[in-house]
Amino acid sequence: MDFFIQLFTDPVAFWNSHTLLIAQIGINSILASSMFIVLYSGQLSLAAPGFMAVGAYTAVLMDLYWHTPLALNIAAGVVFAGVVGVLVGLPVLRLRGVFLAIATIGFIEALRLGVILNLPITGEGLGLKNPSADPLGGINLVLGCLVVVLFLVWRLTKGRLGAAWAAIRQDELAALSQGIHVARYKMIAFVLSAVLAGFAGALEAHLNFFVDPGDQQYGVTRAVQILTFAVLGGSGHFLGPVVGALVVTSLPWVFEQAQAYINVVTGVFLIAVIVFRPQGIVGRGGLAIIRPWWWPRRNVRAPAPG
């Protein structure tokens, strides 16, 4: 309870004492948007932690060896993640559903165990020191970037591209019969998602003095966490995974008093949400997050006569 009491009675003190949490929510929200884009186009890809790793290591290595400015480092991480996205997408996007999920898990594990833990330049299993990190000052950058990302994703779902993605998610064959180049649009979604994940990875690296190649960070555990954002928040609306990221990331603080049982309590909470609201916290209706049962369902874009 302390968590909420402080949040509502003294927001300034809350901000100061939870800076790291808020920054982490920002990073996770960008990852959630990355997950949203692939799910919105009907692809169950769990590759995000891999692209995060690409973004993070690229940015930090640039800084360590060439001392280039932060913006350039992050940009390089994003671009490289996109390139890897194309290379991974070419073979794996023939797969669908669970098979795609398993192939992308194969990708992240191959990258982490096969490449990162073995190359001298990535510090092998020891990770990398990142002396120019800025854990507290980075929060403004993260939140600023989050706003831009959310705006872009929101607009993308509104145009021709978003309509094509929705069609593919619903029925690939029917989408083909409408003249939609399914393979191309799936690839666009996959690469955009890789770019966003790489961006989140580079930003996250900037918040930590140490790049840790552990499973929690760039492995399957992280992939499952990101998937949880989308499942919990709902993947039919761009805000869904973001709300999911907010909830999942702050749960340990909300249930602080449970102490040793914290994982049990958060687990029960997640199960309860999924049982009682299978479409996710945010339904397709968007911001009508908690529509009371007597409130009329919003008709999508009511017609303007004439």
Partner: protein, 524 residues
């Protein structure tokens, strides 16, 4: 008149099956062209090849001067061939309006970057597209104001069919392919679809229509092509096609020689008889003490009425055939009797057991056993294992072994192949296995669903011989068949089912010579 769509010797095999075997076809600009054929004739495969879903193996296709051969589906759609699907494929969770908007994909400029700025022009375009989409919904007879905002999957069935047509029209097609647009509709909805098709055609749209409902196809098409086993067996005006001997044979099935000469419709003279005389022919052969009694049975799948008030009776020791065209509701009746589907209303009683309530397992134990359509054998188990599984629930160890041996003696081919995987058997042998499996459940009434489906003629002979023998040994049989002539030959009595209702009944011989049977299949 110029030719819009031209197919030249299009071929497509699946393994050894010639799904489409050298079909050439010309569809004239501005016409409604029908494509008909019995179940499995290759109609949908042909459409799938033309629209790029299934690659060509040989042959070529043109839409006016644009060659379609070898192009992917989305390119072919962009050329202006739009289609609907046999089993509706709407974007179910999107709204009706969004479905139609997606149909405009190919003629919408990419506005992804402009969307980022939310320019007024983008909004204007969006608004005019939405007006356009609402107009299309009105064109196909949907009240846009009421349903535009509803998720497509929640619309009534008939509206979903119409919405799919609206989505197809949004592409501004040069050719519209409708794959069974009237499937599962009641007569008044069918009439509505018919009027819609005619109206679209009057506005200049060329339509290729595939449907099982002969009244619809024969009514609206100027030319009709008939497929059977992947080949085009006839083409012409509806009147020409409906009296073509080859077409009648493809639909009503092949009977043995002595019957063909007197088969309904074999002579054009039969055509002039009135259906009215037929109902007078309904004989009072309905048995008094029936083992199976069905009264006023109505069954639906969601909004689709598959069976509407059917009544029939079967007495012990009879062979009763239930015939009718594809989609008439035959299998639905059998599945209801087996307890797999629950009816909306009506009664079905088998030897004092209420079939509308009893569990499927209890129904089988009571002696009513179904041999399902498509055989449903376990392809990866051996023949013997398939037979053993059929007796799995029984506790009479030695008796069931002797019975399995007895069954393999009656079907010697199964005895020979007992150690082979069932999936390696031919279609006819698999059918024998399915029937043998049914016999092991010791039926008093055996339901056979389409035993001749997909079999070569000589195998059909074998299967029907086996059915005759089983009957001679005292098993009562209710037989569902598309191959009407064959079924009528061995049936004591038969019922003719058309769009969920029993239209005719009589002895097998009477119906064999009744022209109304042909009309139930081919329209008229």
């Amino acid at each position: 008149m110029s030719v819009l769509l031209r197919l030249d010797k299009v071929q497509r095999h699946f393994g050894g099956v010639h799904a489409v075997d050298g079909v050439s076809l010309e569809v004239e600009q501005g016409s409604i062209h029908g494509l008909i054929g019995p179940n499995g004739a290759g109609k949908t495969t042909l459409v799938n090849v033309v629209t790029g879903y299934v690659p060509f193996q040989s042959g070529r296709a043109w839409l006016q001067s644009d060659e379609l051969t070898g192009l992917p589906a989305h390119r072919i759609a962009a050329f202006g061939i739009s289609r609907t699907f046999q089993n509706i494929r709407l974007f179910k969770d999107l709204t009706a309006l969004e479905n139609v908007l997606i149909g405009m994909h190919t003629r919408r400029r990419d506005d992804t970057l402009a969307q980022l700025a939310t320019l007024p022009k983008v909004r204007r375009d969006q608004r005019s597209r939405m007006d356009d989409a609402r107009g299309l919904m009105e064109t196909v007879g949907l009240a846009a104001r009421d349903i535009a905002g509803r998720a497509a999957g929640t619309l009534p069935y008939g509206d979903q069919r119409r919405l799919e047509i609206a989505r197809a029209l949004a592409l501004r097609p040069r050719l519209l392919i409708l794959d069974e647009p009237a499937a599962g509709m009641n007569p008044s909805e069918k009439q509505g679809i018919r009027e819609l098709i005619e109206r679209l055609n009057e506005d200049g749209l060329t339509i290729l229509l595939i449907d099982h409902d002969m009244r619809l196809v024969m009514g609206v098409c100027k030319r009709v092509a008939v497929l059977d086993f992947g080949r085009k067996i006839a083409e012409g005006t509806p009147a020409e096609v409906s009296i073509d001997a080859g077409v009648i044979k493809a639909y009503l099935g092949s009977a043995s020689e002595r019957v063909v000469t007197s088969a309904p419709g074999a002579s054009a003279a039969g055509d002039t008889e009135l259906a009215g005389e037929v109902s007078a022919a309904r004989p009072a052969v309905e048995p008094q003490n029936a083992i199976l009694e069905i009264e006023d049975l109505t069954v639906s799948y969601g909004p689709v009425n598959a069976v509407r008030g059917a009544s029939l009776r079967v007495a012990a020791g009879e062979v009763v055939a239930l015939i009718g065209a594809n989609g008439a509701g035959k299998s639905t009746i059998l599945n209801t009797l087996s307890g797999l589907i629950r009816p909306d209303s009506g009664t079905a009683v088998f030897d004092r057991l209420d079939l509308t309530r009893a569990k499927p397992s209890a129904i089988v134990r009571h002696g009513l056993v179904q041999v399902p359509e498509g055989r449903e054998i376990l392809a990866r188990q051996t023949v013997l294992e398939n037979l053993e599984l059929a007796t799995w629930g029984r506790r009479d160890g030695s008796a069931k072994r002797t019975q399995i041996e007895a069954v393999m003696k009656r079907f010697p081919i199964l005895g020979e192949r007992r150690a082979l995987r069932a999936g390696t058997l031919s279609g006819g042998e698999q059918q024998m296995l399915a029937i043998a499996r049914g016999l092991l459940a010791r039926p008093r009434l055996l339901l056979l669903d389409e035993p001749s489906l997909g079999l070569a003629p000589q195998m059909v002979d074998e299967v029907f011989k086996a059915i005759q023998e089983i009957h001679d040994e005292g098993t009562t049989i209710l037989l569902v068949e598309q191959n009407a002539l064959r079924a009528l030959e061995i049936a004591d009595r038969a019922y003719v089912l058309e769009t969920g209702q029993i239209r005719l009944s009589g002895t097998g011989d009477e119906l064999l010579h009744n022209p109304a049977v042909r009309r139930a299949y081919l329209g008229g």
